[in-house]
C-alpha cells in the first residue's frame, strides 16, 4: 500500500488547504484517476501526502484502513475522509463534486451519443473492456478472499452468498444475512476469527504479503 518514499525533505505535514486548492487537486485526480483501486490510492497519496503534505503517511494509512468499514468506492471514500479531516462537511461536498464531475460528464456524453456508440470500433473497444471486467471481477474475488481469515464459517458464508445470488436473491439480503451470521457467531462463540496470515492457512500460501 505504501507508495514510494517522499523524495527529499517534504514540507511539514498538517498544512490545511483552502477549498480552491482542494478542488484543484481533487479535480486533477478526477480527470486522471483511471481505473480506480490501488493505482488511484497511490495517486491520491502522491498528491495529498508526498507533494502537498496535507497529512502524514500514517494518517493516510489510517484513513484507508478505516474506509474498509464503509460501503462504496474506496477511492471516493478515502478522498471524502481526507477532505472531511481537512475542511469539514464543506470539504466533503466540494471534494466529491470536484472528483466526480469529469466522469459524470463523460458518461453523459457517451450515453447521449448513441450514433457514436454504434461505431464498430467503439463497440469493439467496449466489448474488450467487458471481457476485461470479467477478469478484473475474478481478481477482486481473489484479493478480497485472500485478506479474509481462514475460517470455516467465512467459507460457508461466501459459498452461501454465491449460491443465493445465482439463485436470484437480492444482494441486499445476502449482505444483511452475511453480517447477521457474523454477529450471531460472535455472540455465541465470543472468539475472534484467526487473523489473516496466522492460524490455519494452507501451507505454501503467503497470506501475510502486504497489499499492493
Amino acid at each position: 500500500m505504501r507508495g514510494t518514499a517522499a523524495p527529499g525533505p517534504a514540507p511539514a505535514p498538517g498544512r490545511k488547504p483552502d477549498l480552491r486548492e482542494l478542488v484543484t487537486v481533487y479535480g486533477k485526480i478526477g480527470i486522471l484517476g483511471f481505473g480506480g483501486g490501488y493505482a488511484v490510492l497511490a495517486f491520491i497519496r502522491a498528491e495529498v501526502v508526498t507533494s502537498r503534505a496535507w497529512m502524514t503517511d500514517e494518517q493516510f494509512d489510517h484513513i484507508v484502513e478505516m474506509t474498509a468499514f464503509a460501503p462504496g468506492a474506496t477511492t471516493i471514500n478515502v478522498m471524502a475522509a481526507i477532505a472531511y479531516r481537512l475542511l469539514g462537511p464543506a470539504g466533503v461536498a466540494v471534494g466529491a463534486l470536484a472528483v466526480l464531475w469529469p466522469s459524470f460528464l463523460v458518461i453523459l456524453a457517451l450515453a447521449a451519443a448513441t450514433a457514436v456508440m454504434r461505431q464498430p470500433w467503439l463497440v469493439g473497444a467496449l466489448r474488450g473492456v467487458e471481457v476485461a471486467v470479467v477478469g478484473l471481477l475474478a481478481t477482486v474475488v481473489a484479493t478480497l478472499g485472500k485478506d479474509l481469515p481462514r475460517h470455516m464459517l467465512l467459507y460457508a458464508i461466501a459459498a452461501g452468498a454465491f449460491v443465493l445470488t445465482l439463485a436470484g436473491l437480492d444482494p441486499v439480503w445476502t449482505v444483511l444475512l452475511a453480517a447477521a451470521a457474523g454477529a450471531l457467531d460472535f455472540l455465541v462463540r465470543r472468539r475472534p476469527f484467526p487473523t489473516p496470515g496466522a492460524g490455519r492457512s494452507s501451507p505454501g500460501e503467503t497470506t501475510s504479503a502486504p497489499k499492493p
Binding site: 484517476g33 481505473g35 480506480g36 483501486g37 478505516m66 474506509t67 468499514f69 464503509a70 460501503p71 462504496g72 468506492a73 471516493i76 471524502a80 475522509a81 472531511y84 466529491a96 466526480l100 466522469s103 459524470f104 458518461i107 453523459l108 450515453a111 447521449a112 464498430p120 470500433w121 463497440v123 469493439g124 473497444a125 467496449l126 473492456v129 467487458e130 476485461a132 470479467v134 477478469g135 478484473l136 471481477l137 477482486v140 481473489a142 484479493t143 478480497l144 478472499g145 485478506d147 479474509l148 481469515p149 458464508i157 461466501a158 445470488t165 445465482l166 444482494p171 441486499v172 445476502t174 449482505v175 452475511a178 453480517a179 451470521a181 457474523g182 454477529a183 455472540l187 475472534p192 476469527f193
Partner: protein
C-alpha cells in the same frame, strides 16, 4: 417522478450495501437495473464497461443507468444517491472509528460481511461472464487479464487500455 424516486432509493441501497470497494456495488447495481427493466442485460454489461473507461470509480456506472432510465435528471439522481450513503458513513466513521475499532465484534461482523461480498462478486463474475464471453478466445483474454493483475500487479488503467485496443482489433463487429 416515480422513476426518479425508484432511482434514488434503489441506488441509495446500492451505496449502502456495496461493501468491499467499488466492485462490491456491481452485483447490487445489476439486480436493481434489471429488476426495474431500466436496461437489458447486454446494456448493463456495457454500462459497467463504460464505468471502467471513464476516470473515477466504477460506481459511476450508476450515472449511465440513471440516464437510460430517466434522462439527465435520472443520471443526476442516481449519481447522488449511489455516493451519498458512503460519504455520510465515512464522516460518521471519522468520529467513531477509534471507538468502533475497540469493540471486538466489529471486525468479526466486517469479515463475515466481506465473506458474503466475496460470494456475491463470485456469482456476478459467473453471471456477467456467461453473457459477455462468447468463445474460447475471449475466455483466454479474461483469464490472461486476471493473471496479469493478480500475479504481476498490472495497473487497472493499463488493463482497460490494453483490453480496449484488443477489442478494437479483434472484437469489432464487421
Amino acid at each position: 417522478m416515480a422513476v426518479l424516486a425508484a432511482l434514488f432509493f434503489g441506488f441509495a441501497l446500492v451505496g449502502l450495501f456495496g461493501f468491499g470497494g467499488g466492485f462490491g456495488m456491481i452485483p447490487l447495481m445489476k439486480t436493481l437495473a434489471l429488476s426495474h427493466h431500466w436496461l437489458s442485460i447486454a446494456a448493463f454489461d456495457e454500462a459497467i464497461a463504460m464505468g471502467q473507461v471513464t476516470p473515477g470509480p466504477v460506481a459511476i456506472s450508476a450515472t449511465f443507468i440513471g440516464e437510460r432510465a430517466a434522462g439527465v435528471p435520472g443520471a443526476l439522481v442516481a449519481t447522488v444517491a449511489v455516493f451519498l450513503p458512503s460519504l455520510v458513513i465515512v464522516v460518521l466513521l471519522t468520529h467513531w472509528y477509534a471507538h468502533l475499532r475497540r469493540r471486538p465484534g466489529t471486525q468479526h461482523v466486517l469479515h463475515a460481511t466481506l465473506a458474503g461480498i466475496v460470494g456475491l462478486i463470485g456469482a456476478v463474475t459467473v453471471s456477467i461472464g456467461r453473457g459477455v464471453i462468447r468463445d474460447a478466445g475471449e475466455l483466454a483474454l479474461a483469464a490472461l487479464i486476471a493473471l496479469l493483475v493478480w500475479r504481476w500487479r498490472l495497473p487497472y488503467w493499463g488493463v482497460i487500455l490494453g483490453a480496449g485496443v484488443v477489442g478494437v482489433v479483434l472484437l469489432r463487429p464487421s
